[in-house]
Amino acid sequence: MKLIRVTKGNLLFQLGKREKNLLIQVLGLYPRIPPSNFRLSKTGQLPDAEANQRLLDESLAEQRAANRKTLQAFLTDARRFTDTESGPRLSMSPSELEWLLQILNDVRVGSWIILGSPEQGMELKLLNEKTAPDFWAMEMSGQFQMRFLEALEKREV
């Protein structure tokens, strides 16, 4: 994937032929982080801690439902992907890219949690037939995330 054009309100990426399908597959895994993972406090020493945690849980559930809807609309928008001889092109606004980073990191962190939150460098010890799909999701979402971050940096230069 390569950023080929930047205008004020739009970023255009050239994708490899298989990359479009890979991106759609990865995004289709959203959401992956278990909801119980989001805690307002570690110590729980907040006023109305339970009520505040409940509010956070509700807000998170609403946000995830909205993200799923937006994701569906994002992927089915006819102007999103255009086919060219050199492969599909992906077009989006900077704010959509920012939002997409959130979605991808949910998939990445969620996959890592499903793998048992391994320490850095210990991941490969857990790789086997059963865990391979989670590794794939973690690595693939990370790859897209890095390409998109690079694009944002180029835009800022």
Partner: protein
């Protein structure tokens, strides 16, 4: 990270200190980011810049603190603002919490 300001004392001013009860409106809550080793360093830096509007250098400083020390206190705020920041950071799937500043 919490920023503190020294109160200015001018001649003729009597400075009094008063014990105030902690309420939800006082800046008494720390926003803490904990280390998730799976997060890319560039990603964490980017999120800090977006959520707090920080310059890259400050965002990198806190990112490195998270990476090397396991956590970083990002700011000290009122309860409402701290909640807002925690929610923003969690939207990016960073491990953020708020803790009472004892």
């Amino acid at each position: 990270m919490a920023e503190t300001a020294t109160p200015e004392v001018t001649p003729g001013t009597i400075q009094t200190t008063e014990e105030k009860p902690k309420s939800g409106l006082e800046p008494g809550y720390l926003v803490v980011c904990w280390n998730y080793p799976v997060n890319f360093m560039d990603y964490v830096t980017h999120v800090f810049q977006v959520v707090f509007g920080w310059a890259r250098k400050k965002a990198e400083f806190h990112m490195l603190q998270v990476h090397e020390q396991g956590k970083s206190v990002l700011t000290r705020e009122s309860m409402e603002k701290a909640e807002h920041y925690v929610h923003q950071l969690q939207k990016y799937s960073l491990h953020a919490t708020m803790e009472r500043d004892e």
